[in-house]
């Protein structure tokens, strides 16, 4: 290994550790035994590490239900977002140049609208549509591809595919949807994965929508539970952080499994 490669590897390791540090601190503090004093010097683990706080949060709140609600939200929102944003991206990429520019301008303008400007009027809209206090209020943005940013990402990926390939698909008798599914989407796989991940994280962590558009606890998601818990027991750090860790667990597990998935696919495509 050359010196340059070695120092790069070291830099990578340091960066990775630095980014993991807040998560490690959060997890370690959640293991503090109930009643044990807070630390006065730096330590890796509390003196009597225990998972007791995780049991306590499930007794205090219906956390299982909240977790299922969160899973339902992403299970609906991610596929809808992928279809709508990749359709729009492909449609934009196949337009004549001036029309493409108009759609880009529109998308950027929409991107610039502050979310807070939509809070009260979306509230009225959802009430009219009967979406208020249902899961549909939480996933509504998926019907516009969640964010024009994702549409632009797909647009950019699809525009790189040579026109000849679209023409060939057309000559072979492929319709628009077949071209999208069989030709364009496989060639923009990385973009699709990126959009899926970003969308998942967005809906899983969405704090404001449940706050504004839900009334009963029936459809409440995990971020709501966190706020409730913080209000219930502000100074019980281990308890609050245990709930934070639990809320973080599903996306983290997903992302830890992802490299394995990619490795396998790469190996398969090599062999």
């Amino acid at each position: 290994m050359s010196f340059k490669a070695g120092s790069r590897a070291l830099l990578r390791l340091l960066a990775a550790l630095l980014f993991l540090l807040p998560l490690l601190w959060m997890a370690s503090a959640s293991l503090n035994a109930p009643g044990d004093p807070l630390p006065t010097s730096l330590r890796l683990l509390p003196p009597h590490p225990t998972l007791a706080n995780y049991g306590r949060i499930f007794r205090l709140l219906p956390l299982g239900r909240y977790t299922l609600n969160s899973l339902l939200v992403v299970a609906l929102a991610v596929p809808i977002t992928l279809v709508v944003s990749s359709w729009a991206g492909l449609g934009m990429a196949r337009l004549p140049k001036p029309a493409q520019r108009r759609w880009i301008t529109l998308s950027l303008a929409v991107l610039m609208v502050p979310g807070i400007a939509l809070w009260s009027t979306r509230f009225l809209l959802y009430r009219e549509l009967g979406w208020y206090d249902t899961v549909w209020a939480l996933i509504a943005p998926a019907w516009m591809g969640t964010s024009p940013f994702y549409v632009l990402m797909f647009y950019r990926a699809f525009r790189r595919i040579p026109a000849a390939i679209y023409d060939a698909a057309h000559l072979d008798g492929a319709g628009v949807l077949q071209t999208w599914w069989l030709v364009a989407l496989p060639m923009a796989r990385m973009t699709a994965v990126a959009v899926a991940l970003l969308t998942f994280v967005f809906y899983w962590g969405d704090f404001t929508s449940p706050l504004l558009y839900l009334r009963s606890g029936e459809h409440a998601t995990l971020p709501v539970a966190l706020q409730t818990l913080q209000q219930l027991s502000r100074s019980d750090w281990a308890l609050v952080l245990a709930a934070a860790v639990w809320t973080t667990l599903v996306p983290v597990a997903l992302f830890l499994l992802l490299p394995l998935l990619f490795n396998r696919r790469q190996k398969r495509s090599v062999s």
Partner: protein, 303 residues
């Protein structure tokens, strides 16, 4: 799977256009119409109980004469000017560092992305603990290293730097997008530059940056807007605008006017100002980019 032949009367280009239909409808129903309503309210007195009453430009005057409003603009800008370039540059440099193969590369990438998948509320609570002046691990670490640690979120001078600091850990979106852009870039270009004897800095500046610049610009737009809005969840949970209004930002002003005081007109006038400021920043970015010839070539899709 059905296909476009179900519509034999439509020309091929019209059939491609149909793909844009759901997006167009969604944007109209979920953004354009609600935003138009919100912005129109700036010219009315409206408290959500009685019907709106025409107010002319009174709401703008009310907002402008409110000391807290000008304060919130200053704080919002402060939270953008330094943190956003730092975040975009950090995301890009990390993507560059982790671009080519190496041992455990996927794990390192995952580690950098991981804090960004932490839900905003959980992230806020974690940092409330980390930044705790007495027991928080950051200050215990700083004390152990011999520094006199600040009180972070409870010190008016350190509350904004604290928010900017924690935001540096959530740059995964920019990281992944930069990585995808670098991945899409033809590898032969860089290899050719290397064979021609270009050092890594020269390659970065004259080969990689011009190709990636449109993406960085888009990320900067995104981050400016994101910081305006996303700062709300964090600030709402961490400081509620305090201490002594040190973290009082525009979304907080709008939220308080609208949802606490039921002065939807004033809130809406403040939105106009916020939107105008966002627009000005974006225009400034576009002008700078044009000057530097970034994103004005064939590769462009932003400008």
């Amino acid at each position: 799977m059905s296909n476009g032949r179900l519509h034999p009367r439509l020309s091929p280009s019209a059939r491609w256009r149909l793909l844009l239909l759901p997006y167009a409808l969604g944007v109209i129903v979920l953004v354009i119409v609600p935003a138009a309503f919100s912005f129109a309210l700036a010219f009315f007195h409206y408290d959500a109980l009685s019907p709106p009453v025409w107010a002319g430009t009174l709401n703008f005057v009310l907002a402008y004469t409110d000391e807290l409003f000008l304060l919130s603009i200053r704080h919002s800008l402060a939270l953008i000017l330094i943190p956003v370039p730092l975040r975009v540059a950090g995301a890009f440099l990390l993507a560059r560092l982790m671009q080519r193969n190496g041992r455990f590369l996927n794990w390192f990438r995952t580690a950098v992305y991981l804090p960004s998948v932490v839900p905003g509320a959980a992230f806020a609570l974690a940092w409330l603990w980390i930044l705790n002046p007495l027991y928080g691990p950051l200050n215990l670490l700083l004390s152990a290293l011999g520094f006199a640690p600040p009180a972070w979120l409870v010190d008016p001078d350190w509350a904004r730097p604290a928010l900017a600091l924690m935001a540096l850990w959530q740059i995964g979106e920019g990281f992944i997008v930069s990585l995808a852009a670098l991945y899409d870039m033809p590898a032969e270009l860089e290899d050719a530059a290397r064979i021609d004897g270009a050092g890594s800095w020269a390659t970065l500046r004259s080969i990689v940056l011009p190709l990636i610049a449109p993406i960085l610009l888009l990320l900067t737009f995104r981050d400016v807007i994101f910081t305006f809005q996303e700062s709300f969840t964090q600030i709402y949970l961490l400081t509620q605008g305090g201490p002594y209004y040190a973290t009082y930002t525009m979304p907080l002003f709008i939220y308080e006017q609208g949802f606490d005081l039921q002065a939807f007109g004033v809130a809406s006038a403040a939105m106009w100002v916020m939107y105008a400021i966002t627009g000005l920043i974006v225009v400034a970015l576009v002008v700078i980019a044009r000057q530097w010839n970034i994103g004005t070539t064939e590769e462009t899709f932003v400008l």
